[in-house]
Subunit: 325 residues, 2 copies
């Protein structure tokens, strides 16, 4: 029996609320509890549970590893925020702002080990396989983060390099979540690989949509100001593709905005958005998002699970891709 | 057959030299390879191998977990150096000096996960037990680090609190190294606990000796300037005990040196050292070191292993405690 995504989300929220943090030392555990209390979409742990039920009604055995995946994801955000000097996460001060950078580093380290402790609670027969997948995925995520940093000082990043970077930084964790659930559910090796691929492809679509929404999203529903990536000259799919496609005057104008010191925000965002639209970047981004989503749904069809289970994953994909924030 | 510590050290050095680092991204893996190339005493992985042979001639099965323990230890040093803003480690620039703080944070995270990958290579029958011990130990080490930070802003730290802090920050990893070797060697639960306790007690003696050598060591053999802890008002065993024992004029003078702005180094070190000696702190530190060492050797005697194996651990303890640096 496979429930809807929101029902798994409820289970995940209960499990996250049930994490026990030692009382002392407060400086180590309070920032972890704070980070986990800030909420979030809880997509990854919900996918673990959904996949484990899809293959074998085993979500009750997958709760601890699901929590582990969510702890791991939040650890990466915590350390990313230190490295990006970000002030706000989910509408609240980041840990290094509320405490300090050293606290964020050490509490993040402890979160990573806590995540590993929860992963290690997978059923013992599959724990070594789950642990291996989890560790390999973590290494890929660090690699993705490093490529993201490396790209900031380059202007010749190709689409293929960018897609590989977001695959590593974002998508493999969605794939890993699906596959951990599949392994615990008792899936065949082939099906476990397929559901991994489903998660990975949906992850690519998801990240490209994020890049698109930062430019074309509705400020009211997006939840943050539009154009943040444009103002920061962030090497998103949009900008990388515009470097490639904008011709003549558009290219000169784009470089002008990239190099402008203290440009007016509204003017820069409007002008760069125009260039994205004119040079076809918007259209290509939409096309890529549609293609990765379609590929994900095609892989899903090949998996040997009941149609109600497939329907749960399809609804999840719909929900994720119809979001406006 | 149990060899000498130095023979295990050779094995460890070969294994560390054999770690494969991916070529790309360089910004992630070069700092890890650099850190591991700086050397160090390799005490912890050598203990893993020695213990695994002592209980069951299994050191060939313990090499990967031994490397994992060394990777973990070096990860803690890497992140500690960022938090302490330390410029130099083992005579070379620290990672955050040679690269930058963000690189040190991210490469450290990757080192922690690499460590876990190596730990996960323990023989599958004992892997869950080894993994659990490793993760629990890691959490204790973060707790120890947090207490160490907390103590810096307190003047009422007791000896018991200090001993517990260094137990967490330093000793449990020596205990963990011994116990992982014992588990892989096939020790009984009681003997695994005893060798853990041996490592833990030797670790306490080792750390207290570190505190003592910073004051009374021979600058030539110590390898760094004497009195660094005194100059930094570091809350070592020496200072904590002096707060407790220095009376009257000595106490006033000690507080004066603690609060002095830009004191002359030679004068402050000489004066505080005098107070340590006069108030009996030196004698008590020596007594504690002797007691923890003796307790470690007593626990060792109770373990059901051949005397040549015990002798290897005794020689190790001698070597560690007769060091002058």
């Amino acid at each position: 029996m496979v429930w809807s995504f929101n029902e798994y989300l409820d289970k995940v929220n209960d499990a996250v609320a049930g994490i026990c943090y030692p009382d002392e030392p407060k400086g180590l555990y309070e920032p972890i509890a704070y980070t986990m209390s800030l909420g979030g979409k809880r997509i990854r742990p919900s996918l673990v549970l959904m996949a484990s039920d899809a293959f074998g009604n085993n979500s009750h055995k997958a709760i601890a590893p699901a929590v582990g995946i969510e702890l791991f994801h939040n650890f990466t955000l915590l350390h990313d925020d230190v490295m990006d000097r970000a002030d706000v996460r989910r509408g609240k001060p980041t840990v290094h702002m509320k405490w300090n950078a050293n606290t964020a580093i050490l509490s993040g380290d402890a979160m990573l080990t806590m995540a590993t402790q929860y992963i290690a609670k997978a059923p013992v027969a599959v724990m070594p396989e789950v642990m291996k997948l989890y560790n390999n995925t973590a290494m890929e995520i660090y690699e993705g983060q490093q490529y993201d940093v490396d790209f900031e000082s380059r202007i010749d990043v190709t689409e293929a390099e960018y897609i590989n970077m977001i695959r590593l930084k974002t998508s493999v964790l969605l794939g890993c979540a699906c596959k951990i659930g599949a392994i615990i559910g008792g899936a065949s090796a082939e099906d476990a690989m397929r559901i991994y691929r489903f998660g990975e492809l949906i992850g690519l679509a998801f990240q490209l949509q994020d890049d698109l929404l930062d430019v074309y999203g509705d400020e009211k529903t997006f939840g943050k100001a539009i154009g943040g990536d444009i103002m920061n000259n962030k090497k998103t799919f949009m900008l990388i593709k515009a470097f490639e496609l904008a011709q003549g005057q558009d290219h000169i104008e784009l470089m002008g905005w990239i190099n402008a010191e203290n440009p007016d925000r509204a003017e820069k965002v409007a002008a760069v958005t125009e260039i994205y639209t004119r040079s076809g970047v918007k259209k290509i981004a939409e096309e890529r998002i549609a293609r990765y989503t379609k590929d994900a749904l095609t892989v899903l069809e090949e998996i040997s699970i009941d149609d109600d289970a497939k329907e749960a994953f399809r609804s999840f994909a719909d929900m994720l891709m119809s979001r406006t924030k």
